[in-house]
């Protein structure tokens, strides 16, 4: 990675880190933390779905695993929350690897893979809802004990910085993927798996690495969610709402790009909040906005917001719009 790769990430992270010094209202900080947690999970989705082209409809399986592992380790085994975080990431990666092994080895692709991931997430949701080990339908309440050692902070800004640091770390990770052999092979598998194999790419290994990384990152966001709200149940942790959020954000922001998931999460939740301010009496107005934004993105910005900006800036520089770009996005 060169300085040119790192500077945008550094600058944006520092700017975002300065935000709590200006904005101190708790609803706004709450919003920012939640938005960043979604962005982090979406970054996880983007590694597999964006770079690897394997669209998962069930990333709740990883999000929920992260959340439950953290909560259960603390409640039932008295494990420290930070250690719980590490183990949650490991568990997410392991679940990813297993789901990947079962589906990729049998050659599942496209909508079949999407359906299998959805099925896994639903099975986990139903099991977590039924088993007493996971608190059943009543869910799990993490004991309020505000200490940094417990991954609980009385200042929302500190939690904001923590999540931001993880988002920045995954931005770096994603940039590294983009510049590495692993990333080139992953993108090659997305574009044309047979051609990639002929060039010596072990597509199974590449996809398994991607889904394990993806699962780990998304589990991290689930873990942070549990630590921030201190309560989870099956419908929150393994609910399809989070699967949808995690795939909408990258698609809106720019699938297979480094900043896409973050831009998408910010746009979606920003617009959702604005809509709630203006029409708060209509329940679910933010979801209607999500749907509207998705339709607009699919119709007018196939590469998401970042793809649109890139095209506009190309046009601004007087370049002819590149036809082939359109072809490539349509193919994804």
């Amino acid at each position: 990675m060169t300085a040119r790769d790192l500077i945008p990430i550094g600058v944006l992270t520092v700017l975002a880190a300065l935000l709590p010094l200006v904005v101190t209202s708790s609803p706004v900080l709450n919003f920012l933390v939640f938005m960043l947690i979604v962005a982090l999970g979406a970054q996880g989705w983007n590694i597999l779905g964006g770079f690897g082209g394997q669209f998962s409809f069930g990333h709740a399986a990883f999000f929920g695993t992260g959340a439950y592992v953290t909560a259960i380790l603390q409640l039932r085994y008295g494990v420290n929350a930070w250690a719980g975080l590490v183990l949650a990431v490991a568990a997410g990666a392991a679940v990813g690897w297993v789901i990947g092994f079962l589906s990729f080895r049998s050659g599942l692709r496209g909508s079949y893979f999407a359906l299998v991931t959805l099925a896994f997430a639903e099975v986990f949701r139903i099991l977590a809802n039924a088993a007493s080990f996971t608190g059943g339908a009543a869910g799990l309440l993490i004991k309020l004990d505000v200490r940094a050692a417990n991954l609980q902070f009385d200042d929302r800004a500190v939690f904001y910085w923590l999540v931001l640091a993880f988002v920045a770390a995954v931005l770096l990770l994603t940039r590294w993927i983009q510049r590495s052999r692993f990333g080139a092979q992953l993108v090659a598998v997305r574009e044309n798996e047979d051609a990639a194999k002929a060039l010596g790419v072990n597509s199974l290994t590449v996809k398994l690495r991607a889904i394990a990384l993806s699962g780990g990152v998304t589990a991290l966001s689930g873990c942070l969610y549990a630590q921030y709200f201190l309560y989870i149940d099956a419908n929150i942790a393994y609910g399809s709402w989070i699967s949808v959020e995690l795939l909408l954000a990258p698609i809106i922001g720019g699938v297979g790009t480094v900043f896409g998931p973050v831009v998408g999460a910010l746009t979606l939740h920003g617009l959702g909040e604005v809509a709630k301010q203006f029409a708060g009496r209509i329940p679910g107005i933010d979801l209607i906005v999500f749907g509207g934004v998705l339709v607009l993105a699919v119709a007018f910005a196939r590469g998401g917001i970042l793809g649109l900006l890139e095209r506009l800036s190309d046009r601004g520089r007087g370049m002819v719009t590149r036809g082939p770009k359109e072809v490539s996005h349509a193919g994804r």
Binding site: E191, N192, A195, A198, L199, R322
Partner: protein, 248 residues
């Protein structure tokens, strides 16, 4: 270096390849010709590992690779192109070739340098930063060739790299293929453009209805009665001979 021994492939009731045998010595260009539907591409797919043979063995450099995955064979040094070009359409030409180069170069800088080098050799030097989806047919054929070359193969399987090109494009690419051979890469090529086969190949195999019916220098093989009949139908060889005698 390559020994295909009695290899067959059955698709349901269809015997696509029927105990075909073929062997290649290092160096040189060998052609694989035959009428449409003869099983040439299926045989290629079995050599490169995309299709598992129903019967028979394939050895490469003395090792039995019959059951190996395609990517393992690429690591061993078998490169292939696809008859229906398979570019990574969303990537640039340079990125496309770099995927191949990454096989032997782990570092991005090395792989990119290798990709640029190969691109220049096949005449894509000016198109490095263009999206691969925007190349012409001839450009895509060159890209197929470049990607396979970037894996630094010992054996290169070319599946109709000349098909769909106009005569001047064919004239341009023939020296490129010859150049690859001169660097010590063994080439096995499926080709319908007979002028190119005559021009390039030292030896050809003829596959018809899944069976290997002839083998030898191109000029000899083309005069072979079985080969003429395979292409033109039963009795064609005798008719041609009679006509030749009448005109002579």
């Amino acid at each position: 270096m390559l020994a295909v021994d009695g290899v067959s492939k059955r698709f349901g009731g269809l015997m696509a390849v029927d105990s075909a045998t073929l062997s290649l010595q290092p160096g040189g260009i060998v052609g694989l010709i035959g009428p449409n539907g003869a099983g040439k591409t299926t045989l290629f797919s079995m050599i490169s590992g995309f299709v598992a043979p129903t019967d028979g063995r394939i050895r490469f450099d003395g090792t039995d690779i019959t059951a190996e995955e395609p990517h393992r064979r690429a690591e061993r040094g078998i490169g292939r192109t696809f008859q229906i070009v398979q570019p990574f359409a969303g990537l640039t030409v340079c990125e496309n070739i770099a995927v191949g180069a990454y096989l032997r170069h782990a570092k991005r800088a090395d792989a990119t340098a290798k990709a640029r080098d190969v691109a220049r050799r096949v005449g894509l030097g000016a198109e490095l930063d263009r999206p691969a989806g925007g190349l012409t047919v001839a450009g895509r054929k060159r890209l197929e060739l470049a990607r396979a070359l970037a894996t630094e193969p010992k054996l290169l399987l070319l599946d109709e790299v000349l098909a769909g090109l106009n005569p001047s494009e064919i004239r341009d690419i023939i020296p490129v293929i010859r150049g690859i051979r001169d660097e010590g890469v063994t080439i096995l090529m499926i080709e319908h453009v007979m002028q190119a086969v005559m021009n390039l190949c030292e030896r050809v195999y003829v596959l018809a209805q899944g069976r290997m019916i002839a083998e030898g220098p191109p000029a000899v093989v083309c005069a072979d009665a079985r080969v003429i009949e395979a292409y033109l139908g039963h009795g064609a060889a005798a008719r041609l001979k009679a006509e030749g005698a009448a005109h002579g």
